[in-house]
């Protein structure tokens, strides 16, 4: 038997539950064959999921590390592999390897601070892990605000969890918004960047931003108007990846590899990288 460790050889996982979040997002619950979690991770880290013969891709782990039983992945249908994943049923096995990336500094820089999470669309997926981690260790952090927006009410990922759990927690305020008016919607209507400015957060907190590039761009300038500094704002990136370990050479921005040195970057760190994307 060959006994060297090899990072590219994955383990097998089983999908034990599939939840339909929105018309194009499903959340998959994955455990190993012996029913355990595949590995421990830090909020913000990713894993490589694959169906052999279909493809392999990087997904952020949306469940919190404090969940001892399983991992969850919220996946939007947008390509070859994700189409396949959306079409499969529970009990399907897949391969999983990881964890990859650096994750959010939840145990260092976030500690003791007020937090502001801003997400758009599927951008909530990587943040969900952090939010649930923060909820679990509620005492370590200050006030938490969550601004989340999507195209429509149906496109809000994890809507039930947000309403039934997050919004009911002490010290957590949830601000939802959708792009266009809808008859059954009585909440805020408008784009995330404007909503953030309307809410007018004081710049004494750490902000975490995730969503489509255009949302990031305008929200960021909104935060600067509110007095935030680049060193207070984090985001998480996504590029094409194959190996996940900084060797295959495609996910770099300048000299940094998103799979290894990222995917979480602070905006002042991003500033040092070339404006490639």
């Amino acid at each position: 038997m060959y006994d060297r460790r090899e990072p590219l050889i994955p383990t097998i996982g089983t999908v034990t539950d599939i939840r339909i979040d929105t018309p194009d997002v499903k959340t998959f619950r994955v455990v190993t064959l012996d029913g355990k979690k595949a590995f421990e991770h830090i909020p913000g880290q990713c894993a490589m999921l694959s169906i052999p013969g279909v493809g392999e891709a990087m997904f952020s782990i949306t469940s919190s590390p404090t969940n001892e039983e399983f991992m969850e992945f919220s996946i939007k249908k947008c390509g070859c592999l994700t189409d396949w994943l959306h079409a499969m049923d529970v009990k399907q096995q897949l391969t999983i390897r990881g964890p990859y990336g650096n994750g959010f500094p939840v145990d260092t820089e976030f500690v003791g601070k007020d937090l502001l999470f801003i997400a758009g669309g599927i951008g909530l997926a990587p943040l969900r892990s952090v939010i649930n981690y923060v909820r679990h260790y509620r005492g370590r952090y200050g006030k938490v605000d969550i601004v989340y927006g999507s195209r429509s009410m149906q496109d809000l990922v994890d809507y039930n969890e947000i309403i039934d759990e997050w919004a009911k927690d002490a010290g957590i305020s949830v601000h939802l918004t959708i792009d266009r008016e809808q008859p059954e919607w009585d909440g805020h209507v408008g784009f995330v960047p404007n909503y953030v400015k309307e809410l007018g957060f004081a710049p004494n907190r750490v902000a975490v931003l995730c969503g489509p590039p255009i949302m990031i761009k305008f929200t960021l300038s909104g935060l600067f108007e509110l007095g935030f500094d680049k060193t207070q704002v984090y985001t998480t990136m996504e590029l094409r990846m194959k190996c996940g370990i900084g060797k295959c050479g495609r996910c770099n921005i300048g000299s940094k590899y998103v799979c290894k040195d990222g995917p979480v970057f602070r905006f002042d760190q991003l500033d040092e990288l070339p404006s490639e994307y």
Binding site: Y2, R4, L94, N252
Partner: protein, 342 residues
């Protein structure tokens, strides 16, 4: 230092090949040198270097990683790795030998790539000094000395003799294990040859490119340089430079359905290809300019930034002679450095 009669080179080869696979550069039917498995009748090429680099031995163009069996909803993983056979590559030039250090920094850094690592452990590199470097050589730019070619064992051809010296413990053990009567000799015997090589390389047109202006921390200086547009405008977007390059190591991982199983294999990929960074979400490097820039910035700035200032190029000159449109790293260096006619 040891020496051995050059007219008995075949005996040296057959002695090596007794317990190991031996590969030497030999002329193919196309009149060019290719690494060939040695057996009686295979003759050492007199060409300066092989068309493809020696990286193939440690990082082959295509290799199987894992095998999967899919049965309904079930998946089985078969580890198909095998311990490679011991092998020796003879006649590696100084540039290619230096490229292994660069590849090591990628593949042997944590997490270690076991496929590469096991090949490295089972391979012995016997280098050969370049007594006739060509006009396309610029290894000295990167501090590589073709007169002391490195590897596990260095060799020099001089007069009637081939001089052999082990550089590593692995090389020493290997040489001691050979069943050959080699003569002990003094290093000074080849001092003159080394001097000649140095003189020769000193006279080459591109041997000492100015590299001070490149390296770590230069991203901002060059990233938005207008010269990229000009340099990349005629690039075809083929992968020739990447595939003949001894230091290019980007790869792709793909699945092949054999009908009875799925083989996951890895193969060389090129940052010059338009689909290299293509995602279902879009293409972050939409034109050849960005791809071209990536390749050279990687070698000249990003790689040194992550690897103690070591450049990702060894000056072997392969891209100079192989690029269909004759664009190459030398022209890039000279242009960005601001002193060229190109």
């Amino acid at each position: 230092m040891l020496k051995y009669r050059i007219n008995k080179l075949n005996e040296l080869f057959s002695s090596i090949a007794e317990n190991r696979l031996l590969y030497i550069p030999s002329d193919g039917t196309d009149g060019r040198a290719h690494y060939t498995r040695w057996q009686d009748g295979i003759v050492l090429s007199d060409k300066l270097n092989t068309v493809r680099s020696a990286k193939d031995f440690f990082f082959p163009q295509s290799e199987n990683l894992i095998e999967f069996e899919r049965n309904g909803k079930e998946i089985k993983v078969n580890d198909i790795r095998k311990e490679p056979e011991d092998f020796v590559i003879f006649g590696v030039r100084a540039c290619d030998a230096a490229s292994f250090d660069i590849l090591d920094r990628v593949f042997l850094s944590e997490p270690v790539d076991s496929y590469y690592a096991s090949r490295r452990e089972h391979g012995i590199v016997m280098t050969l000094a370049c007594d006739r470097p060509a006009e396309t050589c610029f290894c000295t730019t990167f501090g590589i000395d073709p007169a002391c070619p490195g590897g596990d064992i260095s060799c020099w051809q001089s007069g009637d003799w081939i001089y052999i010296e082990a550089n590593t413990e692995k090389g020493k053990v290997f040489l001691n294990g050979l069943d050959l009567a080699m003569e002990q000799c003094d290093e000074n015997e080849i001092a003159e040859d080394k001097k000649v090589i140095c003189e020769r390389i000193g006279k080459l047109p591109i041997n000492n490119l100015p590299m001070d202006c490149f390296g770590a921390g230069k991203t901002e200086t060059y990233f938005n340089d207008p010269a990229w547009a000009k340099l990349s405008e005629s690039c075809l977007g083929c992968g020739t430079c990447t595939f003949v390059c001894p230091t290019c190591q980007c790869y792709d991982i793909k699945d092949f359905d054999t009908g009875s199983s799925i083989r996951r294999f890895r193969c060389w990929d090129s940052c010059m290809y338009s689909d290299f960074t293509m995602m279902s979400a879009g293409q972050p490097r939409p034109t050849q300019l960005e791809r071209f820039r990536q390749r050279f910035m990687h070698k000249l700035v990003y790689f040194p930034e992550n690897n103690d200032g070591i450049f990702g190029c060894v000056g072997c000159g392969r891209c100079l002679s192989r690029c269909p449109i004759s664009m190459n790293i030398v022209k890039v260096i000279k242009n960005l450095g601001g002193n060229s006619n190109v």
